[in-house]
Amino acid sequence: MPIHEGFLSRLADILIYTILGLASAFAILPFIYVLVNSFSANETVFPTEFTLDAYRYILSTDKFIRSMGVSIYITVLGSVLSLVVTSFMAYALSNRKVPGRQPVLMLVLFTILFSGGMIPTYFVVRAVGMIDTYWALMIPGLLSGFYLIVMKDFFQNVPDELKEAAEIDGCHEVGIFFRVVLPLSLPAMAAFGLFYAVGLWNQYFSAIIYINDSNKWPVQVLLQQVVVQASGSIGDSASMGENVSFYGQSVRMAVIIVSTVPILCVYPFLQKHFAKGVLLGSVKG
């Protein structure tokens, strides 16, 4: 930290801290509203009654633990797979000396712009035998062209001197990737890992389409069912009897909490990789 600071700089600090403080407050208030209402008997800005019924109701489903496990499994394994494949390909594409790089990039861009749609993709997933398997939740979205191209850019920004230095030290392409590029790109890996993880965690539609066996449902599908039933928007099937009492509103709120908090917890662990100075250390070392 610098020792002497000008008045302007300090004023800027105050301004920055205030703006960010306000932004954080705005960001978190609605979440608190949701959280508070998940414990409340009726929806209101200032709830009075505290109840755990909504959470009890959600946890009373037999398959809750199981589907949570499914979601964690596909999120962890899926994002690792995605990161590995994306970073390998991004690394290869980041080297301008690779012949044929241009057409591959065009191909990737083409897949960002155009899409075949739901039914053709289903045919492919079926043809490779993934229907009703967890792979169907991880593989069809394995790679995002968007992330791939941005990651390629990150890799290109790793100074060439470092790569060349490693080459002189006797590293070949594979070694350079693992010893130089990857360690220097930890912030990027953390960011894209988070993106992939969130995408995998939130996926709902693909589970509906590809998974027939309800034992393999991820938690989002299960929770959506809970919401649908709790909100009573079920038309025909509604036959809730006299001795059922639950709170539609709070169940909806509790479902939001239950379905977001696990993935929210990932961020603080990744956050330390956004720390400054990664590059500095390695250049000197």
Binding site: D13, A23, Y91, F114, G116, I119, N157, V174, Y267
Partner: protein, 319 residues
């Protein structure tokens, strides 16, 4: 801009470490890179390119029960229906404006927020703020819409407060004037923090010695931000911008759908909401595909133009 580590590699084409070798030789030298590429390329070929025949649905009356081979080919029928629709220009205008605001307002805000966050020197406070601002991303649009009603409804908090100070009721939710600002506010609130993540990752890679050198030269924080920080993440910003143009016409369907009502449909209906109601909900696959293809073609043109422009200014672009 020859200061940054980034700038160093800009000059590489001239260095040519494999001088005047034949293509085969160069390819052999790069063989390991091909190995690295294989899984990814296989993925794209199998899961992205192979289903691409679905695009042809737009020229058919695709019926799931008949399949691609037996469905009737109808040429440009669906495109004619789209272009001749009385609402076409309205849809185009609404989509274009919202997409443009998204790019011109939301995107710069994420950059500014990332830069501000980068200036926070108190590590704990920085982490605290970062964690909080990205939370809204995890609330669904349904929740966001619910909160908007709570705040901006006819009897919402803002109108209640307004009545206390003698203000008349404002019809935020029905007003054609307020529709776009509300949509933008929602996007900024929900994804403003989230959008900084990639930029912060890029900022984490900035060479710290540059700052130290600048500090010795007596540069102010503003100058450092302008001359060191921004240039270091310039290429990421440009890549993100170009890629966003590729999906320019894709707006958050759910968000807009939830905010639409008969009184603001005039400015609120966009291609995505239209195709949901008219195409997808009705199981009209071909029409939906045609609208999708139209949007993709616009994206293609924009990306092509943007990439060309970027190259003109000495950037690498995305291909």
């Amino acid at each position: 801009m020859k200061t940054g580590a980034i700038a160093v590699e800009k000059g590489t084409p001239g260095k040519a470490p494999f001088p005047s070798s034949s293509l085969r030789k160069r390819a052999w030298k790069a063989r390991w890179y091909y190995v690295f590429m294989i899984p990814g390329i296989l993925y794209f070929l199998i899961f992205k390119i192979a289903p691409m025949w679905g695009v042809l649905m737009s020229f058919q009356d695709y019926q799931p029960s008949l399949g691609m081979l037996k469905s009737d080919w109808v040429g440009f029928k669906h495109f004619e229906r789209l272009f001749q629709s009385v609402d076409f220009w309205k849809l185009f205008r609404n989509t274009f404006l919202l997409a443009f605001y998204n790019l011109a307002i939301y995107f710069p805000i994420t950059i500014v927020l990332a830069l501000i966050l980068n200036e926070v020197r108190h590590e704990t406070y920085k982490r605290f703020v970062q964690t909080l601002v990205y939370i809204p991303h995890f609330l669904s649009w349904v929740v966001v819409a619910g909160i908007t009603y709570l705040l901006m409804g006819s009897e919402g908090l803002i109108n209640q407060a307004g009545q206390l100070i003698g203000q008349g009721r404002i019809d935020f939710l029905y007003s054609t004037d307020w529709f776009r600002p509300i949509i933008m506010l929602q996007i900024i609130w929900k994804d403003g923090g989230w959008g900084t993540i990639i930029l912060l990752a890029a900022l984490a890679g900035v060479n710290m010695s540059l700052y130290e050198a600048a500090k010795i030269d007596g540069a102010s924080r503003m100058r450092m931000m302008w001359h060191i920080t921004l240039p270091s993440i310039r290429s990421v910003i440009i890549i993100l911008l170009i890629l966003r143009l590729g999906n320019f016409m894709d707006l958050g369907f759910e968000q807009i759908y939830l905010m639409l009502n008969p009184l603001n449909r005039e400015v609120g209906e966009v291609f995505d909401t239209y195709v949901f109601r008219v195409g997808i909900q009705q199981g009209q696959f071909s029409y939906s595909a045609a609208v999708g293809l139209f949007k993709s073609v616009i994206g293609l043109v924009l990306v092509w133009l943007a990439n060309k422009l970027a190259k003109k200014f000495g950037e690498e672009g995305i291909y």
